[in-house]
Assembly symmetry: C2
Homo-oligomer: 298 residues x 2
């Protein structure tokens, strides 16, 4: 069945789950706004929105469940970068009216899969028709404890830089299936004072300069130490993007303890020391692009 | 200058205002998530997202400032329907890379104009390229006091139904310039127990049945009493949509006092009693469509 044969209310009624069981949701999908419990006193509210666009972030033929997963996982990765706890998501689907309802349902299944995995409630949805490619725009709210919030700014000169996982080659398929590092970020800030953190969405070559700039510092990277996905070059590890791994800065005094405890807690996820923050830049070559241009953005 | 000649970071840096002055914003645009103060204890968090799509919600040649205004005003109208106070907005712009930067800046000027008018802070933005029409997706968070929240459900049999303003003919131009009834909704719930409320985005013919259904009631409407925009027929007032006026249900015992106080407070904005909620439907004709189909959605 094509979308135009189904009303918007009926589409949303079929897609959106019922939430009566969750006590922090007063009114979910089906009213003008979602009404939810505010974070407890002493916590900060976190807000993030992101989108995936057909032909830009996913190919038309891509697995629809994976598209839904990615649409929610992207803003969740930003929550990880803040060491935050995501709670509620709103989903806007902008769809050609000739799109199959079955495709839309698969996208929602992917969204719900990611929501379940990270204990996020999808509390509202909006749909619109379009004459162009499909767009899934997701906004997420949640909280972080005042003392545990981590910004991009906050890195100190001499801090060591670490990345989780492996870099590069994400576009071969991982970009549709990545796991936001929320659990790991929460563990990190529970046990260590993390000075600055960012998730690697545009690539180390773009996101490290962003973190350094926000901290008003330069950086030094041991390129040979970069954890690379199999068969990726150093250049690809720096520039491919869509890794959705964490990059963070921590005092060098904590470096050894961190590495030991991490290996014990996450034996299957590499944590690699890749360099330091410095008063002066030590990178002179051109692998570090510094800006993503509009046409290159994925 | 075309968008592709400008990096995303630089575009956002040019567009997004600086917020250092506002004490409830800890980190605005430029970090992974926006970090803001949570609503005070005893308040509920409200969440809403909505979008405008080129060719669907606005024509390509429409005034770009008005497009920005509408993109933010739409979710704000949903806040009005909940008697809520909007506080923070995130803006996602999905744009063809050949679009003029000047156009994008005008859209932002419209967004900012609406934000200033309703004391909303734009705390974050995301951009993406697209091979299709431009999309502006806006999500807004804010709060409502527990005792003042108004849902669509909550209407009681015998309640009188009121609408603000005039209905119909919005597509002639008002749909790009409407004023969300936030101030009026706040005034209403400060002085009267409003049982149920909704904003008229899809038209009375769709939105009144939604309110009645949520309240598990039928309704009776005096069609001749409907406040119509000049030169609109009754049928147009019911079905045009995009009025963004408030429809609400209130005890008949309060009806006279409400009308008297309203005239004094808002002498230039009509408030019209249009009917009642009932145990049984009294509408038999076909003006009341009941559902918006995907292809008809504006």
């Amino acid at each position: 069945m094509k979308l135009h044969a189904l009303g918007e209310d009926r589409l949303l009624a079929q897609l959106l789950p019922k939430f009566a069981a969750r006590k922090n949701i007063i009114a979910g999908a089906g009213d003008d706004c979602a009404v939810v419990a505010a974070p407890a006193g002493g916590n900060l509210l976190l807000l993030k929105t992101d989108c995936v666009v057909e032909g830009v972030h996913f190919e038309t033929g891509a697995d629809a469940v994976a598209i839904g997963w990615k649409a929610l996982a992207r803003p969740l990765s930003d929550f990880a970068a803040m060491a935050g706890v995501p709670q509620f998501a709103l989903v806007t689907m902008i769809l050609p009216s000739v799109r199959e309802v079955a495709w839309v349902k698969k996208v929602y299944r992917g969204l719900q899969k990611a929501a379940d995995k990270f204990d996020v409630a999808i509390v509202g949805g909006e749909t619109s028709s379009t004459f162009g490619p499909a767009v899934v725009s997701v906004s997420v709210t949640g909280f972080v404890e005042k003392k545990r919030r981590v910004l991009r700014a906050g890195g100190k000169s001499g801090d060591e830089l670490f990345v989780t996982g492996c870099l590069g080659g994400s576009r071969r398929g991982r970009h549709l299936q990545f796991v936001p590092r929320i659990e790991e970020a929460r563990w990190l800030t529970r046990h260590f004072p993390v000075h600055a953190m960012i998730d690697l969405s545009d690539g180390l070559g773009v996101d490290l300069p962003r973190l350094a700039r926000a901290s008003k510092l330069g950086f030094e990277v041991d390129e040979d130490a970069l954890p690379r996905t199999r068969s990726c070059t150093i250049e690809q590890a720096i520039n491919h993007g869509e890794d959705y791994e964490l990059l963070f800065a921590i005092s060098s005094a904590r470096s050894a303890t961190l590495q030991r405890k991490w290996r014990k807690r996450y034996p299957r996820l590499p944590l690699t020391r890749i360099g330091r923050l410095h008063r002066k830049f030590k990178i002179q070559n051109t692998k570090w692009s510094g800006y993503v241009h509009f046409t290159e953005r994925r």
